[in-house]
C-alpha cells in the first residue's frame, strides 16, 4: 500500500470510528472493539521486536501494566488529563524497554527472552507491594463524566484506542519500509553478518525494544479509565503475554499487516468465545492454535496468502 494511499486509509478509518462512536450503538460493542484495537497495538508493538528483529518478548504484561500504572499515578497525584497519561505511559514503558535491552541485548537472544519473563514476575511483585497504587487490593478510578466529541467516555476511549492503533501500525509500517527496517531484518536473518556489514546491531536492537515498549505502554495508559478498577492480577494477565505473541505469529510476522490480521481475527474470536466458553478454555485454544501455526504455518496467514497468490500468478 503506497504511502499516500495509506495515509488516506488511516484518516478514513479514524473518521469512520468517530462516526461509529457518535452513532451510539450498544455499549458492549465499544467495550469489545476497544479490546480488539488494544490487541492491534500490542501485537504490532510485539512484532517490531519479534517479527522484524527476531527477539522474542515474553513479558508484554510488564510494559502494558507499567503504562497502566503510570496513568494511575498521574490520575491519583494530579488528576492529569488523558493525553498526559498517554505520553507518560508511553515514555515510562519506552524507558523500561531501553533498560532491559541495554542489560541483556549484548547476550544471546534467549537471555533477553528469559529476562522479559522474569521482568513481568518482578514488576508484578513490585506493584503488589506498592501501597500508593493500591497494592494487591487495587485502585478505583472514576471515569470522567463528559467526553469530548462523542456521547460518553467509553465511546471516546474506543476512538482513542482506534487512533492509537493507527499510530502503532503507521509506526511499524514506516520502520518496516525504511533503512532501519532493513537493518532489523538483517539482524534477524544473521546478526553476525549484519554486524560485519556495518549494521550497528546493538543500537538498532535498542531502538526496537524502546519503540516496542513505548507502544505497549501507550496501549496500557487508557486502561485505568476503561476498566475503572486496576489491580495487579488483571493488569498482568497472562492473556496479554500469549495474545501479543500469538496474534503476530498467526497473522504473519514479516509485515505490519500480519499483527493486524491476527489481532482482528483472534481478538474478535476471543470476544465472541468469552461469552460462550470459559476464559481458561479460551486461553488453551489460543495456545494450541499458536503451537499449530508455529509448527505448520510459520509464515502466518499473510504469508500463506502471499504464497498462494504467487502460485496463482505463475
Amino acid at each position: 500500500m503506497h504511502g499516500g494511499r495509506f495515509a488516506l486509509v488511516a484518516i478514513a478509518v479514524v473518521a469512520a470510528g468517530l462516526l461509529v462512536a457518535k452513532l451510539g450503538f450498544n455499549q458492549y460493542y465499544y467495550f469489545a472493539a476497544y479490546v480488539v484495537l488494544q490487541y492491534v497495538v500490542l501485537a504490532t508493538a510485539w512484532n517490531i521486536l519479534g517479527g522484524y528483529t527476531g527477539y522474542v518478548n515474553f513479558g508484554t504484561p510488564a510494559f502494558f501494566a507499567l503504562g497502566a500504572y503510570t496513568a494511575v499515578v498521574l490520575i491519583k497525584s494530579m488528576k492529569a488529563p488523558l493525553l498526559a497519561q498517554l505520553v507518560a505511559g508511553a515514555a515510562v514503558s519506552g524507558v523500561l524497554g531501553l533498560a532491559i535491552g541495554y542489560l541483556t541485548l549484548r547476550l544471546r537472544g534467549v537471555f533477553f527472552s528469559i529476562a522479559t519473563l522474569a521482568l513481568a514476575v518482578v514488576l508484578q511483585t513490585m506493584f503488589v507491594n506498592w501501597e500508593y497504587t493500591g497494592g494487591a487490593r487495587g485502585f478505583s478510578v472514576a471515569r470522567p463524566a463528559t467526553a469530548p466529541l462523542v456521547g460518553n467516555y467509553v465511546q471516546f476511549l474506543f476512538v482513542v484506542m482506534l487512533a492509537l492503533a493507527v499510530v502503532a501500525v503507521a509506526t511499524a509500517r514506516w520502520i518496516e519500509r525504511s533503512w532501519i527496517g532493513r537493518g532489523l531484518a538483517a539482524i534477524r536473518d544473521n546478526e553476525e553478518a549484519a554486524e560485519c556489514m556495518g549494521v550497528p546491531t546493538l543500537r538498532l536492537k535498542l531502538v526496537a525494544t524502546t519503540v516496542s515498549g513505548l507502544l505497549m505502554g501507550l496501549a496500557g495508559a487508557p486502561f485505568p479509565y476503561y476498566v475503572t478498577f486496576v489491580e495487579p492480577t488483571s493488569v498482568f494477565d497472562l492473556n496479554y503475554a500469549v495474545n501479543s505473541l500469538a496474534m503476530p505469529m498467526i497473522g504473519g510476522t514479516s509485515t505490519w499487516m500480519g499483527p493486524v490480521v491476527g489481532a482482528v481475527l483472534l481478538g474478535t474470536a476471543q470476544q465472541v468465545a468469552t461469552v460462550t466458553i470459559s476464559s481458561a478454555l479460551n486461553l488453551l485454544l489460543v495456545g494450541v492454535i499458536l503451537v499449530a501455526f508455529v509448527i505448520l504455518a510459520p509464515e502466518g496467514i499473510v504469508g500463506l496468502v502471499r504464497r498462494l497468490a504467487r502460485r496463482g500468478r505463475s
Binding site: 532493513r182 531484518a185 544473521n190 549484519a194 560485519c196 556489514m197 556495518g198
Partner: protein, 240 residues
C-alpha cells in the same frame, strides 16, 4: 603511517575456555598488498579473521588499522573504517533477495547519501556472475552462488581491506579463475586483500606474501616460493 603497517596485528591471543585458539600471532600487511593466509584445518585462520573483523575480541595483543587502534572497536565500526570480510560458511540474509543482501552494506557500511543503490548492487552482482539471480531469495541459491554472494556483499561495503575467507571452496576450475580475476581487479583498484584458501594454486598465484598458521601459531611467513620450500609448512600439512 609507515607503508608497512596498513594492518598491524600485534601478538594477538585468543582462548575459548581451556582451548588456546591463537597464540601471539603477529602480521604486518602493507597497503595494497595481496596477502595469503594458509594452514591446516583448525589452525586458527578464521579465528584470526574474526579478531580482525571484530566478530571476536582478542584476549591479548593489539590490532591497528591505518595506525588506529581498533582492538576494542565493535565490528560495525571496523567495517565503516574500511574492513570487510566474507564468511567461510556463507551467512546470507535469508529473507532477502540477492540484490537486497547487497543493500545492507551499501546503506550501512558507507557514510553519506546513497543514490543508485539498486544500480550499484546490480553492477556488483554482475561482476561475480549473479546478475541473473538478483531477485532470487538468497536462501534459495546454491552453495556456490551463496559463496559468490558472500564476496559480492563484502565488495559492496567498498572496503579498503577485504578478507576473503575460502571464497573458492567447491568451485570449478573455471569459476576459481573467475573469482581470482575479480580479486586481482579489486586489488588493482587499490584494495588490500587477505585471502584464506585451501586451493594452493590460487593462493600461490595470487599472493605477494603468505603467512602459515598451525595450531594457533604462525610458523612461517614469506614469498610463495619460500613457503613452498619450507619444511615446517610441509610437516604441518602432511604430519610428521
Amino acid at each position: 603511517m609507515s607503508a608497512d603497517a596498513f594492518l598491524d596485528v600485534q601478538a594477538v591471543t585468543k582462548r575459548f575456555g581451556g582451548f588456546q585458539a591463537l597464540t601471539a600471532v603477529s602480521l604486518r600487511i602493507r597497503q595494497g598488498e595481496r596477502f595469503g593466509l594458509i594452514g591446516p584445518n583448525g589452525s586458527g585462520k578464521t579465528t584470526l579473521i574474526n579478531c580482525i573483523s571484530g566478530t571476536l575480541h582478542a584476549d591479548g595483543g593489539r590490532i591497528l588499522f591505518e595506525d588506529r587502534d581498533i582492538t576494542t572497536l565493535p565490528a560495525y565500526r571496523r567495517t565503516r573504517l574500511g574492513i570487510a570480510r566474507s564468511f567461510q560458511i556463507p551467512k546470507p540474509f535469508t529473507s532477502m533477495t540477492a540484490l537486497d543482501n547487497l543493500r545492507i552494506p551499501i546503506e550501512y557500511a558507507r557514510a553519506g547519501h546513497h543514490d543508485g543503490v539498486v544500480d550499484e548492487a546490480m553492477g556488483i552482482l554482475g561482476q561475480v556472475g549473479l546478475a541473473a539471480k538478483a531477485h532470487v531469495l538468497s536462501a534459495a541459491l546454491t552453495q556456490i552462488e551463496m559463496r559468490k554472494l558472500e564476496l559480492a556483499r563484502a565488495m559492496a561495503a567498498r572496503p579498503k581491506l577485504l578478507v576473503s575467507d575460502e571464497a573458492m571452496a567447491g568451485l570449478s576450475s573455471g569459476e576459481v579463475d573467475d573469482i581470482l580475476a575479480i580479486l586481482f581487479q579489486l586489488n588493482q583498484r587499490g584494495i588490500t586483500i587477505i585471502m584464506i584458501e585451501h586451493i594452493m594454486r590460487a593462493v600461490m598465484r595470487f599472493s605477494e606474501r603468505i603467512a602459515v598458521l598451525d595450531a594457533g601459531e604462525k610458523i612461517a611467513e614469506g614469498r610463495p616460493e619460500e613457503i613452498l620450500a619450507n619444511e615446517r609448512v610441509e610437516r604441518a600439512y602432511l604430519g610428521e
